[in-house]
């Protein structure tokens, strides 16, 4: 949340704001599709059910899933920025 920015009130956004957002590519609901990535990445288990390569002693199966934690958080944060 940027502190200096108006929240736009509770009644939605004006026409000029809408046009500005369209140019910047923000506000589009298509950005939500990015959030499908962790579902594909984590629910297709055979893709990562492997011991190798290891990282810091962790088998691939484990560090791959750990890596999705910050990845999903960043993706969600990015979408939050784009759809506001």
């Amino acid at each position: 949340m940027e502190p200096g920015r108006p929240s736009g009130g509770s009644t939605g956004i004006g026409d000029s704001e809408r046009a500005r957002r369209a140019r910047a590519g923000t506000g589009s609901r298509l950005w939500y599709l990015l959030l499908l990535a962790p579902f594909v990445g984590l629910l297709w288990v055979p893709f990562y059910a492997d011991a190798h390569p290891r990282l810091f002693g962790f088998p691939f199966f484990y560090w791959y899933q750990f890596a999705w934690v910050p990845a999903t958080a960043l993706l969600t944060w990015f979408v939050l920025r784009r759809v506001r």
Binding site: P6, L36, L43, T72
Partner: protein, 529 residues
């Protein structure tokens, strides 16, 4: 490896920390003071919590003490399959990000306190509201009982015998929840999460150093797991190795993720936020707890590498701590777990009390109840719920609570079509949803009974192929199919739909943090562009 005598130092640290949060629980009534004679204030903290408090509150609500005890115990017993808790608590947040701001918006507009309030308002059906409420109550009660197991395990690990410490801890909890409502667990969750973070970070750095590093820990687990047998008699594994294991792992993660935010106590946490952006921001910062949970799960492998022989299935973590931590830190860690049980137990009992008061008492027993009476009934209901959970744990074997909690996850997922369907569309028919719910509840329960509660993974042989998946997912799929098919049929037969009291625009209301940005609110034109 439970200590046979009472550990004085550990107990002293434990008691001091416990006393500290007890004081906090009572003081919480004055925090962000509101009229506690109104359900919105007692049961939702006045819907005023900002991003930070919501983060602690939901963290304390979702990642419970039982999780910290049970997940490593499962990983210890069967290996990789128990690790599904990690993908589960990752994919849940995109779902939260999309759905929960909508629920918050419409709930704050109409004063909904429970998910059943929303269902009733959306479909104009108090029957559907009642089934949603009862399902939520059924799923939450055993969950409260499980938190007691968390407390009992650590008290036993400190060498204290008898039920009186558990009873006194719960009486104290009941007293400050009665007085302060949701403010008590919200304030305590800040202490709880700090203690948990410190404990786990120390554990996942210190214990691996003692054991020769993570590589050695995984090697030891990889060697030991094939010789272990889980509850179903199958051997454990470090990496899932066949289609059945893949299917079970993925559906357990998906089913649990979908069910989590249908639990009344989690929705209570969501609705107590002060704006929808608080929830969206939390969807990006709550994964910090998921990372912690992943590390906690690995305590199971550390226990294997350390050669722990747990005295009971749930004592893997306490036994590991007793073996490696000095007494004072042992007391610290056990206090973290016990306080980690109090926070969710308080929120769960509040959520159950809200459900009873709003969707049973006011709906069916005394529709003319005043706000003050409603709040008073909820306070009393929270006491009854906690007393019931305590009696359940003291009188019956632990196994029943665990079995019921497993079933609770299956049941609560069956409220998803009505809740989430309602958040996204008004297309589904109220009676179709009711039939779908009944079909899902029956199927899920029968599957669990058929498996004798030994596992929640069911193997279904259909159309010549065998599908292995979490039983909740089978029940859920049937639920959705029935709901959709009957909606088509009922519309064809022109069966009357209920009146929807919500409007499409109300799901998009921002209602965000008016107090957080006063200058911008006063002069919106200046800063724009």
């Amino acid at each position: 490896m439970i200590a046979t005598s009472v550990n004085g130092v550990a107990l002293a640290v434990f008691v001091v920390l416990f006393a500290f949060v007890t004081v906090m629980g009572f003081v919480a009534a004055r925090w962000r003071r509101g009229d506690l004679g109104v359900l919105n204030e007692w049961g939702l903290g006045g819907r005023r919590f900002g991003s930070v408090v919501t983060w602690f509150l939901l963290g304390g609500d979702v990642y419970t003490a039982y999780t910290f005890i049970a997940v490593p115990a499962l990983v210890f017993a069967i290996g990789a399959q128990g690790f599904f808790a990690l993908p589960y608590t990752i994919i849940v947040y995109p779902v939260v990000f999309i759905l929960m701001p909508r629920l918050w918006a419409v709930a704050s507009k109409h004063g909904y306190v429970t998910p059943a309030d929303f269902v009733k308002g959306r479909y104009g059906s108090s029957t559907l509201g009642l089934t949603t409420a009862l399902t939520g109550l059924l799923a939450t009660m055993p969950y409260i009982a499980l938190q007691l197991i968390g407390i009992r395990v650590v008290i036993a690990a400190m060498g204290i015998k008898g039920d009186w410490p558990l009873i006194s801890a719960f009486v104290i909890l009941a007293a400050y929840t009665y007085q302060s409502g949701l403010r008590a667990p919200a304030l305590i969750s800040i202490v709880k999460d700090t203690l948990i973070y410190v404990t786990i970070l120390v554990a996942v750095i210190y214990i691996p150093i003692k054991l020769g590093g993570y590589g050695k820990i995984f090697d030891a687990a990889g060697n030991a797991l094939p010789h272990k047998t889980g509850p179903t008699g199958k051997p454990g594994a470090l990496i899932p190795g066949n289609d059945a294991a893949y299917g079970a792992y993925a559906t357990l993660a998906l089913g649990s993720a979908l069910a989590l935010f249908m639990y009344p106590h989690v929705i209570t946490g969501v609705l107590s936020a002060k704006g929808r952006n608080v929830i969206r921001r939390n969807a990006t910062i709550l994964p910090a707890y998921t990372f912690l949970l992943g590390l906690i799960a690995l305590l199971g492998y550390m226990a294997i590498a350390a050669g722990i022989k747990p005295s009971s299935p749930n004592s893997v973590v306490p036994d590991l701590f007793v073996k490696y931590f000095p007494s004072w830190f042992e007391g610290f860690a056990f206090a973290a777990i016990a306080i980690g049980a109090l926070v969710p137990a308080a929120i769960m009992s509040i959520a159950a009390a809200n459900l009873f008061t709003r969707n049973v008492y006011r709906e069916y027993i005394r529709p003319q109840a005043s706000d003050a009476e409603e709040s008073q009934v909820a306070k009393l209901a929270s006491l009854v719920v906690k007393g019931g959970a305590l009696a359940f744990i003291l009188a019956l074997p632990t196994k029943y609570a665990i079995d019921l909690q497993l079933l609770g996850g299956v049941w609560v997922l069956q409220t998803l079509p009505a809740i989430v369907g309602g958040l996204l569309t008004r297309w589904l028919h109220r009676w179709a949803l009711l039939a779908g719910w009944a079909a899902g509840m029956a199927t899920g329960t029968l599957m669990a009974v058929d498996l004798d509660f030994k596992s929640s993974v069911y193997q279904l042989n259909i159309f010549g192929t065998s599908i292995t998946a979490y039983e909740a997912i089978f029940a859920f799929v049937l639920n959705v199919v029935v709901s959709v098919a009957l909606t088509l049929l009922f519309d064809l037969l022109r069966v009357r739909r209920g009146a929807d009291e919500t409007a499409a625009s109300e799901y998009e209301e921002r209602g965000d943090e008016p107090t957080a940005q006063p200058p911008a609110e006063q002069a919106p034109a200046l800063a724009r562009g």
